[in-house]
């Protein structure tokens, strides 16, 4: 028979189980101010379209996929948030693991620069992997793209970031050109 209460239970569980990671992910990408709105919109959309969820599968990649779509509408906030990461002076600068506090600040600046310059699709695949901690397969589900495409996007993105760390003499403009050529 029609188990309304079970549906409601499932929805309450969905929220309680998945809110924190979704919110943290949104917060990392666009900052705390916009993250509450993004999380609210993500769950409202998820509830509205819950018939699209394959209930036999994990809801996590599906929810991150919705969150990622919502974040696309906040691309300015995202660029702002990402750039702000470069400006922050971290605790580790004082006693960094590599013993060269200044170097990490420089590396971060290069990394953030590369991150901002990434193709948006490469960046979102990478961040779903690195920040949302989805597997390649889950990223493929979240973005509704083949896993091979996920691999190549993340590979490309990581290489661009790695290059930004590897050779600080490469200016960000040159790096962008190099990255584009290789893509």
């Amino acid at each position: 028979m029609f188990r309304r209460s079970r549906n409601a239970a499932a929805i309450a569980t969905l929220f309680v189980d998945h809110f924190d990671p979704i919110y943290r992910f949104a917060s990392s990408r666009v900052g705390r101010d916009a993250a509450t709105d993004i999380a609210a919109e993500t769950f409202a959309q998820a509830l509205r379209s819950i018939d699209r969820m394959d209930p036999a599968r994990d809801a996590r990649p599906w929810l991150f996929g919705i969150a990622n779509n919502v974040i696309r509408h906040h691309h300015r906030a995202e660029k702002r948030r990402l750039r702000a990461y470069a400006a922050l002076k971290r605790q580790s600068d004082v006693a960094g693991p590599n013993g060269h506090p200044e170097s990490e600040t420089l590396m971060r600046a290069g990394l953030v620069d590369a991150l901002v310059r990434l193709d948006a699709r490469d960046r979102e695949a990478l961040l779903l992997f690195a920040w949302a901690e989805l597997t390649y397969e889950e990223v493929a589900t979240a973005l509704d793209i083949p896993i091979g495409t996920v691999r190549s996007r993340i590979h490309r993105a990581r290489r661009a970031l790695r290059e930004s760390l590897g050779d600080s003499s490469v200016s960000s403009g040159q790096l962008a050109i190099v990255t584009r050529k290789e893509a």
């Binding site: 929805i11 929220f15 924190d20 819950i50 018939d51 599906w62 590599n98 170097s103 971060r108």
Partner: protein
């Protein structure tokens, strides 16, 4: 340099420590009908709201509430969300005139929602409500002479009636609440509608307040038929005009004899023309059901809750509900093609006989079919795709687009 790019990237995220407790409570409150509130913030910018444990308990209370009190406001609102609760301007079902010769529809082609009427072949499209506020939700009187609709021209949503040529405009509900979802009684003398108490100038004291109300077609005798706070939506009349249905609840048109239908009758189902059966899209998150596709899909159940059976697999859940053909023999419904996101896939229109035979796909569009309606003769279905009105024969032939946004 012994830090790799991934480690460094992950460290970036740690620079934006997320106060999930406050945000979780705030989002839960919004999902339950609360407006975004800045006043919840303390001077230090942190939010004074319950912890994860409190939200988890609240969630359990909602679930328990659904078991014991179906009209509990908070649970009903969540259900409203789940069922895609309609709002004016959102419901854009093309409405067939009773003689099948004309269609009323809503278009935003001039920048805001207006009521248009056109011939059933798409010719002579005319805007009947040329004014800057939103007009939506048109429905024809049984004699085809008048159109009922919802307009926000006075600031809040109110129910209006006009002649089918746009003349003789009349506001039937001058109330401070939002008046929504109007439905003609079969004899055309009364209109059932939903009153929503929460309006921007007067926010709800509790999460959600909607009432079932009735007004005479001349605007007199406005009265509420429900007194408790509940999630009331899409009221409809029984064929004899004696009973009004909303969700799983029934009430006599004079406000007496309020009753609830059996538990297994769905909240958002479609009643057959004779009022004997209900078609609905079934969804379940019970693991036993999920692994058994015969438990989901399009179902039909008798109005007394007996003889529930599946008539088609894979029906799309939510609003709009499935729709019965005027003769009650067939059911049109939307079916999703199975991809994960609506933006990536399509809902297409299907028709199946009420006994489960003769399943037929009517549309293969590049975009979702949204609202749809049977023509009075049951031969054609009008539907909305990408905000444009289309028609297709009930056998799937002769699909045609009737409107163009730029025309």
């Amino acid at each position: 340099m012994n830090v790799d790019e991934l480690t460094l990237l992950r460290r970036l995220a740690a620079d934006e420590p997320a106060d999930a407790d406050a945000a979780r409570a705030e989002v839960w409150r919004r999902l339950n009908g609360g407006e975004p509130q800045a006043s919840d913030r303390r001077p230090d910018g942190r939010t004074r709201l319950p912890s994860r444990r409190v939200v988890a308990i609240a969630a359990l209370v909602v679930v328990a509430g659904l078991l014991v009190a179906p009209a509990l406001a908070i649970g009903d609102h969540l259900l409203g969300l789940l069922y895609g609760k309609s709002t004016p301007g959102d419901v854009q079902t093309p409405a067939w005139a009773p003689d099948g010769r004309k269609l009323a529809f809503v278009s935003q082609r001039d920048g805001n929602s207006e009521i248009y009427v056109m011939n059933a072949d798409g010719s002579e499209q005319e805007n009947l409500t040329r004014q800057p506020a939103s007009d939506s939700h048109p429905s024809w009187s049984r004699d085809g002479r008048k159109l009922l609709f919802v307009s926000r021209r006075n600031g809040n949503a109110e129910i209006y009636v006009m002649n089918a040529d746009g003349s003789g405009l009349r506001n039937l509900t001058r109330t401070p609440s939002d008046d929504l979802d109007p439905s003609w009684s079969p004899d055309g003398r009364a209109i059932a509608f939903v009153q929503k108490n929460c309006v921007p100038s007067r926010p709800c004291a509790t999460a959600y307040e909607t009432y079932l109300a009735v007004v005479n077609a001349d605007g007199s005798g406005l009265r509420r038929l429900t007194t408790r706070r509940a999630h009331v939506f899409n009221p409809s009349w029984s064929a004899d005009g004696k009973t009004i249905r909303y969700g799983r609840w029934l009430v006599r048109a004079d406000g007496s004899g309020h009753s609830e239908l059996p538990r297994n009758v769905p909240v958002a189902g479609a009643w057959s023309p004779d009022g004997q059966r209900i078609a609905f899209s079934r969804v379940s998150h019970s693991p036993a059901d999920i692994r058994n596709p015969t438990k989901l899909g399009l179902w039909v159940v008798n109005a007394d809750g007996s003889d529930a059976r599946q008539v088609a697999p894979k029906a799309t859940w939510g609003v709009p509900a499935p729709a019965w053909s005027p003769d009650g023999r067939r059911i049109a419904f939307r079916r999703y093609d199975g991809r994960l996101f609506e933006s990536a896939g399509n809902s297409d229109l299907f028709v199946v006989n009420a006994d489960g035979s003769g399943l037929r796909r009517l549309t293969r569009g590049a975009a979702n079919v949204r609202w749809f309606a049977w023509s009075p003769d049951g031969r054609t279905i009008a539907f909305l795709r990408n905000k444009e009105v289309y028609i297709v024969k009930a056998d799937g032939s002769a699909e045609r687009r009737l409107t163009q946004l730029d025309k």
